[in-house]
Each structure stands twice: as C-alpha cells, then as structure tokens.
C-alpha cells in the first residue's frame, strides 16, 4: 500500500449510529459475534442469533455485528476481508482505547507477534456506541484504555509525519481530553474512535514501540500481571512524553504553537503512571531494548530514540 492509499483509507470513516439507529436499521440477515454478557444482550435487543466465534457464522448473512475490544473487532475486520468481502460490518466497542471500530488498521496477534494490515477495506461500515457499557468496565481496564487514547492522540500529534491540519484536529481533541477524568466515562468511547482515526494519518511513536516489544515477554514471564497493549501504553506514556520533552524542543514548540500547555499535559499524564508496574516492566525493557529500537513505531517517534536513551528510563530521570 502506498502512502496515498493509506491517506485515502484514513480519510474514509464508518457511519456512526446510536443504539436506536442500530435497532431501527434494516440489517437483513444479521448475527452478533462476541463474548457474553454484552454480545448476547445486543443480539437479544436486535432479535437475532448470537455466536461466540467467527467460525460459527452461517453462510446466509447480510450483516455481522461484532461486539468486543480491539482484538475482537480487528479479527472481524480481517475475517470479513478474507472470507465475506460483501458483508456489512457493524463494530460495537465494549471498551475504549484501541479505536479499532473507527480505524483502517487490523492488528492480528499470533502468540505475541503482531501482524498489521492497513487499508480502507478493513474499515467497519458502521460503528455504534453503547454508553452504558462504560460502567461495566473494570476500573483498572478503563484507566488503561484512557492511557491508550492519550497515547494515540499525543503520538499522532507529535509524529514527524503529522501535517498542520492533523495537528490542529488533534490539539483540539487533546484539549478536550484534558477536561475528561481518567476512569469510567462514556465520552471516552467517542474520543477513542477519533484519536485512533487521526493517529492513523500520521504515526505512533516510542510508547507503542515499547508496548509492541514488551507485551509478549511480560505476558509470558509475569502471568499474574495485566500486560495488555493498553496497560503498557498507559504505563509508559508519562515516562516517554517526559523523554520527548527533554530530548528536543519539538514537544514544547509544537504544544505552544497549537495552544497546549506542555507542563499541564505532563502533570495530567503523571496521574496514569504506576511506579510498581514500571518496576516490574523495566527488566524486560532492558532485555528487549534492541528490539524496541528497531520497532517501526519507535523509529517514527517525535524525538530520535538512540541506543543510550535506555539510561533515561533505567534511572527514572522523569520521576
């Protein structure tokens, strides 16, 4: 895919429906896929069948409603492209963070190895938000999701690939995020979708590079921890943004140019920082630093990440 294709894919957007619009829509033969309790509940409200797995879907189908987090939605996006390209796909996120319901990117996880697909064919046709899901999200996962949204917004804003219109858009979004409490609030669903779609027009950076490289080893070596992608983004966004700020004047210059308070941003992000989790993750960061340096996201960080940068994180210079 060329850069132009990528920009075209990022410019298209799924329709955004309310639950009422979804219930009233003519969906034809429809099936809901996802885990209990939310997927069967939505299937009940649509008076349609529910299945737990994509392989259980019937052949005669007009609309697939996928209910889940980013991994589940991305699987459905990829599955449709591979098996039923004409199928209408409705994505309902049960948690914020990934923004998969509004993104032309499908990330598949093969035992910790990420396979990334990009193209407008991966965009769902419709995204639909159920605000009441917000109160059902465990608080720790909700906070991690907030960190993931923040990471998309800030890394997309600071990216060397971002242009002025995108930065204006993301600066406005970041301004809104500053007024949004970290935790369970249904507004995060919409900001998650917007941040992810905007970020897809530039790049992510070192926070994602670290998350990509540490998720599998942390899951394998510290099975008792919550080491999902969002949790790692949430854990590292504050240290990485401090690193970005001290590494060059780019952070401060861009923040000032777009009306953002750099100090206020960092103070807000510090509330996401978990020193205990950081201490547990740091040995894996040391062990996987070489891979982190080579990660494509790291290489598109707003500040150059050189081999010696590990020392900044190792000595907790930001703390």
């Amino acid at each position: 895919m060329t850069e132009a294709d990528s920009r075209t894919a990022a410019a298209r957007r799924p329709l955004c429906w309310s639950p009422r619009e979804l219930a009233d829509a003519d969906l034809g033969a429809v099936v809901v896929v996802g885990s209990p309790p939310r997927a069967p509940r939505i299937a009940g409200s649509l008076r349609c069948p529910w299945v737990a797995d994509l392989n259980q879907l019937p052949q005669d189908l007009d609309t697939l409603v996928v209910v889940g987090g980013g991994r589940r939605i991305d699987q459905a996006k990829w599955w449709r492209v591979q098996h039923r390209p004409g199928l209408r796909l409705v994505a309902i996120a049960t948690i914020w963070g990934s923004g998969a319901e509004n993104s032309p990117i499908a990330v598949l996880d093969h035992d910790g190895v990420k396979e990334i697909h990009l193209g407008e064919q991966y965009l769902p046709d419709v995204r639909c938000t159920f605000p009441e899901f917000a109160q059902e999200i465990p608080l720790s996962l909700a906070r991690s999701g907030c960190g993931d949204v923040w990471t998309h917004a800030l890394e997309g804003f600071l990216s060397p690939l971002a242009d002025r219109p995108l930065r204006e858009e993301l600066a406005a979004l970041i301004g809104d995020l500053l007024g949004l409490p970290i935790g369970r609030d249904p507004r995060w669903f919409e900001y998650s979708a917007l941040a992810c779609a905007a970020q897809a027009r530039s790049s992510v950076g070192l926070v994602h590079g670290i998350a990509h490289q540490l998720e599998a080893p942390l899951r394998a070596n510290q099975a008792d921890g919550n080491w999902g992608h969002a949790a790692l983004c949430s854990l590292f966004i504050y240290p990485v943004m401090c690193f970005n700020r001290q590494g060059s004047d780019r952070f401060a210059t861009l923040a000032a140019a777009f009306g953002l308070d750099a100090d206020g941003l960092l103070a807000h992000l510090s509330t996401l920082f978990d020193p205990v989790g950081y201490d547990r993750a740091l040995p894996e960061l040391r062990r996987h630093w070489a891979e982190t340096l080579r990660d494509p996201s790291t290489r598109l960080n707003s500040v150059l990440v050189r081999p010696g940068a590990l020392d900044y994180f190792d000595r907790r210079v930001f703390a």
């Binding site: 060397p160 598109l300 150059l304 050189r306």
Partner: protein
Amino acid sequence: MTNYDKLRELIQDILLLEPGEYSLGLGRGDVPTWDSLAVVSIAVGLDETFGQHPSPDEATGLKSVADIVAFLESRGLSFSD
C-alpha cells in the same frame, strides 16, 4: 566534538551500525536499516543535532552520508576540520 563526529554518531545510532560500517561513502543500499523509516529518523536527527530540518523532498534526496554532508554544508555548516 566536530560536526563530522556528531554526524558519525548520529548515523551510527539511527542505522544501528556495527563499528567500522560507517564511512562517507555509505549509501542507502549498503545497510538494511537505511529504509524509508530511516529517512524520517535522519530528518529528525539532523534537526535535533544540527538545527537543520530538511524538507520532505530534501530528506528523500539524502541517499548517502556524502549527500548529508553536502546538505549540511549548503546550510552553512563546516565539515573541513
């Protein structure tokens, strides 16, 4: 530290070169790490290290260390020492 030394350290760090791999004649086809992402990293690194940010077209045209030296000299930096 001379500009030459600064550039050597920068390119070694971006391209993750082994000792001895760096030379003025090093070009894009010589190491696998000099790919399209490295073009962006080099642009960011030149800005951070020398205060000179190439435009996207200029960055794409930097196909060797010698090209980078020529670009920086065109912006008034000296590599004669």
